[in-house]
């Protein structure tokens, strides 16, 4: 190398640095040894190896660094969530139900039991097609079992129809006997006769309609009992009977006897933890006029606890009560001379509840996720007494109350003092008379039924005549509870999938969010419960599926509203970048550049060596 002592023109040096060497140059170099283009020794690997080691050690350190700045995210089963929501949204849940019909005294007709069954099924499908497939409906694919019974013989469609032929002897006697009490006795008798334990062997509930043809009766009476059966008695032709039976099945037993404009199933007033708090409030608008108290304990024991018991599969219900004073309503009412009372109209209802003065939310549960339904008995003050609700058609409301979906209901109770216009002892504490109180609570039960989306009247008007509904002393009859249970399950599952879906979207959109193991576990449990609920639905186990669906929803909500979800990590990527860049940016620049330069130099030098070697040869 030292031998090279000839001055090198700068242009030559420049060219030698260029990666490509022209053939002319090589020729030139062949003439003499040029230190710019040739070298005699093999280029050293020392420095190149050194820089490379530094670079490699940095690279090997990177995963550790990455690990150290990584935040913990529990793996969530996104795919399963998507699968579940797709499954629930695509085909609405349909419960297996069994329908049975008994035709009595239709004589020997041409059509057999099987034909009747087929015609009822087709009618039912036609009816069901009219309204969109609602969530939590029955599956109409199952066959309708039909029994034909007359005085002499008895035909049955095959299957496990547990109708005992010849059991009808006492039937009509019972029917006659129970005419006075509105059919209650007959209902109980049918229950014992059908001996239904509610569910059949292949799952699902069994609903029965008994059609009795009696030519001596003028009217056709259709009654739905407290249990899972209805009866149609009267002078009815077979075609009419078939139509009527299908209607009873579809409109009443499957769709809960809902009327137009009633509250839909998605507004089921159940808290996301599966609890309802029924908060009963007695509001004395002005205690200076009169103060009223109630015997709530008695009401609770006699009227409310059976309802709480009946609704247990749907929700865990707690009852609370309080009496509040100085709680005027915030809407106006006017004096009507004709009615001799103060009138508030349906237009005033949105302003009736005075949220400033009615501090109803005093329950401990108010902070939690339970649903609180407020039931308010409003005792008007002397200035606005008696206070009556006028309906849009000019009539006076019989209940004198109204509901507000998902909030609760209000009933106005006018004390007797304001009718009599007598001076009361304002200091004394009066009790609401028992009859009045019972009446008010009956209104409340009706309103509770409405809040649950059920019919509050005891009859059900239909295109083809009215249907009488027998009321249960528990407030809800069994087929209504079945309906609520189906709806509740379906709604819970929908809610669960939407919650989980939004959770997965949220988690995926925020990559720097910490997800604790607890959330992962809750999501897992929720999915498992949802799957169990779906499989129970297909087996027709109503109560179990309701319970599992409730668990699924409550776990999903727990995961979504987990306190740690609220605090999105402040350790954002920008933060990480700001902390690490002052060190890693300059250092990595040095290290990478050094490695690249050494690599280039090594390539160049080895080429020089190769040229020299080639020239020597």
């Amino acid at each position: 190398m030292d031998a090279a002592n000839t001055p090198i023109p700068p242009a030559m040096a420049e060219i030698s640095e260029a990666p490509s060497t022209s053939a002319a140059e090589i020729q030139k170099a062949e003439a003499e040894f040029d230190s710019e283009t040739m070298r005699k020794t093999k280029p050293g690997l020392k420095r190149f190896a050194l820089t490379l080691t530094v670079l490699l050690s940095f690279l090997s350190g990177l995963p550790f660094l990455w690990k150290s700045v990584e935040i913990y995210r529990s793996p969530l089963p996104f795919r399963e969530i998507d699968d579940l929501s797709a499954a629930v949204e695509l085909n609405p849940l349909q419960f297996p139900c069994r329908f049975e019909v008994v035709f009595v005294d239709f004589g020997r007709t041409s059509s057999t039991a099987n034909e009747l069954s087929v015609s009822i099924e087709s009618h039912m499908r036609k009816l069901a097609e009219k309204d969109s497939p609602s969530c939590g409906a029955c599956n109409y694919n199952s066959t309708v079992s039909v029994a034909l019974e007359s005085a002499s013989d008895c035909f049955r469609t095959d299957g496990d129809f547990n109708w005992k032929c010849g059991a009808l002897n006492g039937l009509m006697n019972k029917y006659e006997a129970s005419r006075e009490d509105g059919g209650e006795l007959f209902d109980d008798y049918l229950k014992s006769l059908l001996n239904d334990n509610g569910s059949s062997s292949n799952g699902g509930k069994v609903y029965t309609v008994i059609v009795v043809r009696r030519e001596e009766e003028k009217h056709v009476s259709a009654v739905v009992g407290k249990y899972r059966h209805a009866w149609i008695i009267g002078n009815i032709s077979k075609e009419e009977a078939v139509k009527k039976v299908a209607e009873v099945f579809v409109n009443t037993f499957v769709n809960g006897g809902k009327e137009e404009g009633s509250i839909g199933g998605e507004f089921m007033p159940v808290g996301s933890d599966g609890r309802i708090v029924l908060s009963f409030n007695l509001l004395n608008a002005n205690p200076n006029d009169w103060t009223y108290d109630w015997e709530f304990q008695e009401i609770d024991d006699n009227i409310l606890s059976p309802i709480v018991e009946a609704l247990k599969p749907l929700a865990d219900i707690r009852v609370e009560s309080q009496v509040l004073y100085h709680t005027p309503k915030s809407s106006f009412s006017y004096w009507d001379d004709k009615l001799e009372s103060y009138i508030y109209t349906t237009k005033d209802l949105p302003f009736f509840v005075n949220s400033n003065e009615w501090h109803l939310d005093t329950s401990v549960a108010a902070g939690g996720r339970s649903k609180i339904l407020h039931f308010v008995v409003y005792v008007p003050s002397a200035e606005e007494c008696p206070l009556l609700l006028q309906l849009p058609n000019g009539e006076i409301s019989k209940t004198n109350g109204f509901i507000s979906p998902m909030w609760g209901s209000v009933a106005v109770w006018n004390p007797s003092a304001c009718f009599k216009d007598l001076k009361m002892d304002t200091r004394a504490r009066h009790k609401i008379p028992r009859e009045d109180l019972t009446k008010t609570f009956e209104i409340f039960i009706g309103q509770l039924r409405q809040l649950f989306g059920l019919n509050s009247k005891n009859h059900f008007a239909d295109a083809s005549g009215t249907l009488r509904l027998l009321t249960s002393e528990r407030g809800f009859s069994e087929w209504e509870l079945d309906f609520l249970s189906r709806q509740h399950t379906c709604f819970n599952l929908l809610q669960c999938t939407t919650t989980l879906g939004s959770l997965s979207r949220l988690v995926q959109s925020l990559p720097r969010m910490i997800i604790k193991d607890e959330i992962g576990k809750q999501v897992k449990y929720s999915l498992e419960a949802a799957k169990l609920a779906v499989s129970n639905v297909s087996y027709g186990m109503y109560d179990a599926s309701a319970v599992f669906s409730r668990h699924a929803r409550s776990f999903a909500e727990d995961a979504f509203y987990h306190p740690s979800m609220m605090s999105v990590s402040y350790y954002s990527f920008e933060h990480c970048f700001a902390v690490y860049s002052p060190f890693f940016l300059p250092v990595s620049l040095h290290v990478v550049l050094a490695a690249v330069r050494e690599w280039k130099r090594y390539k160049l030098e080895s080429r020089k060596y190769n040229t020299w070697k080639a020239k020597k040869m």
Binding site: P10, R47, Q297, Q322, V323, T426, L589, H590, A594
Partner: protein, 660 residues
């Protein structure tokens, strides 16, 4: 005849029986009472003390439904199994020297600034802390306050004997000295009253006037024996709500005369009748004993002058002051052998309504100066030392030379002693060395253990629990001043633990000083007063208790941008070091020298400029380097530069796109 007698006897028994059952029924009913006590204070101010009490009979006999008792409190008691609880929201400091420290109101209603909460639970020992945590959350929701900050174990402590004579070990105590108290706390408190502030005495609570006062303390005391299985007949839940305010009547009277006031001038409102649900709603005006004695003196004088016989009952119109209405009743405290009892004038607002509201006025006739009765020792607390490293807490107690010391002390002069209990909670970042506890009596250091009757210390644990000291001192009666000092080091907090505005300093909660031998109670002559809760409360024997000031300890607060500065600085230094080290390692000295020699002629634009500059400085003619065929080369260099800039810009754009 005997039969008749027998039947008569039977009748009597029946009658008695029915009466007794009627009485029981009456007993087991919910009750609500309201009362307002007004008291002129020596420093031209007026104390107004609202007292509301609602009680619920035990659930076992009465059931869950209540018509007066607030549902939320009932549910709270049942959910957390509370045996006793006290919550107070206070703004301002009770002036013990001027407003007195030896009466029931100052002992139970003078509270430390901010929030104070203590609760005694009836749950197994291992669940007490959980119950406390849940309770703080429930209360913070109920009263719109940040009581939930008491949840952390560093902010509450267990006390042994400071709040209850019998220690159950299930009592928890916590304070938030810096909690601001305002209407949002009063409104939920009022919601617990059946009439809220719509009717009754609470309608006087005009927010601007009560928050304008010098002292404002809103308190809620809860006592229940629902869960006490040992007791056969329980009294249910008693909820006591008090609001104590010290107001300055705005009058234009001269400086010397005490200001005359009326209810409407104090509160800006009048009472329009009682809350229709309350059993009694009374207004009391209290004149303290020293004032009363002065009154008696002046009366004696006037008696001597005018020979006028003043009936005691007519004393609402006496030489010192005049009240606008004749009182319904005058209640006189039973006089002790030395002191004069104070006088209460009772008014009932029952007979007033909207058209004739109740308005009470007090007019002073002559200038009066009197003083309130003081607690035996006046305690104050301060910090010693300077700097951000260490310091000392001193609690000094000055004797007020109250006459009552002799009462409590034993008859023997030598054995006479004064028992003073001190309860002090110190947060963990103030690391108190309890072995440095020193007691000074009249300025002289004493052997510590000589004067301590009992002591209970639980040292603080970093980030886990605060330091608690409970101590009962036994001081000789003749002591003039007593002082306690404790040294401490200031700790360091983690950067996350500093509150916002950390430079303001950290509060050490008030110490509680209580005098177990002294009971601040009044005793009234008539038995009737026992039925009225406020009067029975005044007669309750509670030990004299006072609170010291809140201490403000400045801690070293870091510059909160410091961590990032440190990171940047060290990283830059490391990067520089690392880069130069790497460059030094891969340096080829010989080759570089040769290159330099070879490329000596060629210079970049910057070195060209430099050489020109140096030439100019040296005063020589600058010779431009020989022109070479570098024009093409230069353009290629420019092209390379542009390419590099474009590359960096491209990376930046891609980066921006990717991360937005």
């Amino acid at each position: 005849m005997s039969r008749l007698k027998f039947s008569f006897l039977l009748f009597l028994i029946l009658l008695w029986g029915s009466e007794s059952t009627a009485e029981e029924e009456k007993e087991a009913n919910e009750e609500f009472t309201e009362a307002l006590l007004l008291r002129p204070l020596p420093d031209r101010k007026v104390l107004a003390h609202f007292h509301f009490q609602s009680s619920a009979p035990p659930t076992q006999t009465y059931g869950r439904h209540h018509y007066i008792f607030p549902k939320s409190i009932y549910q709270l008691v049942h959910k957390f199994h509370i045996r006793e609880m006290e919550l107070s929201f206070t703004q301002g400091r009770w002036n013990y020297e001027r407003w007195g420290g030896f009466d029931p109101i100052s002992s139970s209603n003078a509270k430390p600034p901010g929030v104070e909460l203590w609760a005694d639970f009836d749950v197994p020992q291992n669940q007490v802390d959980d119950s406390w945590k849940n309770l703080t959350h429930a209360l913070s929701g109920l009263f719109c306050a940040s009581i939930n900050f008491l949840e952390h174990s560093t902010s509450y402590s267990a006390t042994q004997w400071s709040f209850q004579s019998s220690s159950s070990g299930k009592l928890r105590y916590g304070t938030l000295p810096r909690e601001a108290v305002c209407t949002e706390n009063l409104t939920p408190w009022l919601k617990l009253l059946p009439c809220r502030d719509k009717a009754g005495l609470s309608s006087l609570m005009d927010r601007p006037s009560i928050y304008r006062g010098y002292y404002h303390s809103q308190r809620l005391h809860l006592k229940s024996d629902e869960f006490d299985t040992s007791k056969i007949s329980s009294s249910g839940i008693v909820l006591e709500q008090t609001l104590t305010v010290v107001l300055q009547p705005n009058t234009f009277s001269g400086k010397k005369l005490q200001p005359s006031w009326s209810l409407s001038s104090l509160f800006g409102r009048k009472v329009t009748g009682k809350c229709s649900l309350s059993n009694s709603s009374n207004v009391y005006v209290q004149f303290q004993q020293n004032l009363v004695s002065e009154e008696n003196e002046s009366r004696e004088k006037s008696e001597a002058q005018k020979n006028e016989i003043l009936i005691h009952e007519g004393s609402h119109n006496n030489p010192l002051f005049a009240l606008s209405h004749p009182p319904k009743r005058v209640i006189k405290e039973v006089e002790n052998f030395q002191k004069e009892g104070s006088i209460l004038y009772e008014y009932s607002v029952e007979d007033y309504d909207e058209y004739g509201p109740f308005e009470l006025g007090l007019r002073w006739k002559v200038p009066v100066i009197w003083s309130c009765q003081q607690a035996p020792l006046h305690a104050s607390r301060f910090l010693l030392g300077s700097g951000n490293e260490r310091g000392a807490i001193a609690i000094s107690m000055k004797s007020t030379r109250s006459n009552d010391i002799e009462i409590a002390g034993l008859d023997d002069e030598k054995a006479c002693s004064l028992r003073v209990g001190i309860f002090q909670v110190v947060p963990w970042y103030v690391k108190v060395y309890y072995h440095t506890l020193e007691v000074f009596l009249d300025g002289e250091s004493q052997a510590t253990m000589d004067n301590i009757e009992k002591i209970h210390v639980s040292p603080s644990e970093d980030k886990v629990s605060p330091g608690v000291m409970e101590i009962v001192l036994r001081l000789p009666c003749s002591v003039k001043t007593a002082a306690l000092t404790l040294e401490f080091d200031k700790g360091f907090l983690h950067i996350d633990e500093y509150p916002p505005d950390a430079n303001q300093g950290f509060d050490i909660p008030s110490a509680v000083v209580h005098f177990a031998d002294f009971v601040a109670n009044m005793s009234f002559e008539d038995n009737l007063s026992k039925e009225i809760p406020i009067l029975s409360k005044l007669q309750e024997k509670i030990p004299v208790r006072s609170y010291t000031e809140v201490l403000l300890v400045p801690l070293t607060t870091p510059d909160f941008s410091m961590p990032y500065n440190v990171i940047t600085m060290t990283c830059t230094i490391f990067a520089l070091y690392f880069g130069s080290l790497l460059n030094a390692l891969r340096r080829r000295r010989g080759e570089e020298e040769r290159l330099l020699k070879g490329k000596g002629a060629e210079k970049g634009p910057l070195s060209l400029l430099l050489s020109r500059l140096s030439a100019k400085l040296r005063g020589k003619q600058w010779e431009p380097p020989k022109p070479s065929s570098s024009s093409s080369k230069k353009s290629s260099v420019n092209y390379k530069l542009v390419a590099k800039v474009v590359l960096v810009a491209g990376i930046a754009i891609v980066w921006q796109f990717y991360y937005q």
